[in-house]
């Protein structure tokens, strides 16, 4: 029997580590991976709570979140590819065109 509090704290740490990655990392792909970490934290929270309540809804929810994460990753990576394709000839330092 795992105390629910432990699970939730673990999940929160995962979520926060993901957040730290999002905020601090400059590499886009790693930032996206950090988002995945955050989503995992959410999933673990849901599953932990579901376990504590002895019901399945939380798990079903986290199932949905996995699908959602997949869809998000697909779109995000597609945009990324599009950026790098258009950027090939451009200087890397000039990251954003839209700065005012």
């Amino acid at each position: 029997m795992v105390p629910t509090g432990y699970v939730l704290v673990l999940a929160a740490v995962l979520f926060l580590l993901g957040l730290v990655g999002v905020v601090l990392r400059r590499n886009v792909i790693i930032v996206m991976m950090s988002v995945e970490l955050m989503l995992n934290g959410v999933n673990m929270t849901l599953i932990g709570f579901a376990r504590a309540r002895g019901e399945m809804f939380g798990q079903a929810f986290s199932f949905m979140i996995i699908a959602l994460a997949a869809a998000e990753a697909a779109v995000g990576l597609a945009i990324l590819v599009a950026i790098f394709r258009t950027r090939r000839t451009v200087n890397v330092d000039e990251i954003s065109l839209m700065r005012h």
Partner: protein, 224 residues
């Protein structure tokens, strides 16, 4: 946070990566054995011998691995390494799920997350190639980073202390089938029927979106 990064290029770091992969490979049988520990039957059996709480130990070990993996994921300079560590983390997470009797979710985690999604990531990492190009960054400047870190630390401190105090003290007893494919199917095709269907729209959007984004303009096509 880039202190831990290594300057050596990817090609010379093969041995490390293969050792990482080996670790991941080792994890798999471990996971398999944890299933045996973590099932309710095992837990029930464990009652007779309270000296060893299998689920809790599984949780400790995989929890530690999860955190380690997550830390490594967000600190690696090379996206390939980071992705591998993420896979590692996801495996470890699956282990945690097992300790929570969420067997189906653990399987899905390995199959879909660690499998499919991470393949997507790796694919893009490889396709984009040179990592120097991938700089983007939401936060700019040291100051804003420090502020953000402080905010996160504050949030984390509040959140964790709250969770410690407020978490349900005692988990419910669950029946044999809890977390199994059967019980999951029961929820997914009853109460969650509509979301289950609706999520297909989401996936459709993802597919169409990916197609739209990666299309080239007609002119460009003519040139190519």
């Amino acid at each position: 946070m880039d202190l831990l990064s290594q300057k050596t290029p990817l090609s010379q770091r093969r041995p490390f990566i293969s050792s990482l992969m080996a670790t991941i490979a080792l994890l798999v049988p471990w996971l398999a054995t944890s299933v045996a520990w973590a099932t309710p039957q095992a837990a029930a059996a464990a009652k007779t011998a309270p000296a060893f709480n299998g689920a809790l130990w599984t949780f400790y070990i995989f929890g530690a691995l999860t955190i380690a993996g997550a830390l490594l994921t967000i600190t690696r300079r090379n996206p390939v390494t980071a992705a591998l560590w993420l896979v590692f983390t996801l495996f470890a997470t699956a282990g945690v799920y097992l300790s929570l009797h969420a067997t189906f979710m653990a399987a899905i985690q390995v199959l879909v997350y660690a499998g499919a999604i991470m393949v997507l990531f790796m694919f893009v990492v490889m396709m984009v190639g040179n990592t120097e190009r991938q700089e983007f960054g939401i936060m700019r400047g040291l100051f804003s980073k420090v502020v953000a870190l402080g905010a996160i630390a504050l949030l984390g401190w509040r959140l964790i202390s709250l969770l410690m105090r407020q978490a349900p003290a005692k988990a419910a007893m669950v029946s044999d089938g809890y977390g199994s494919v059967h019980s999951m199917g029961g929820v997914l095709f009853r109460e969650y029927l509509f979301p289950f269907e609706a999520i297909s729209v989401l996936l459709l959007v993802a597919i169409v979106g990916a197609v739209v984004i990666s299309r080239r303009s007609t002119e460009e096509k003519e040139e190519v």
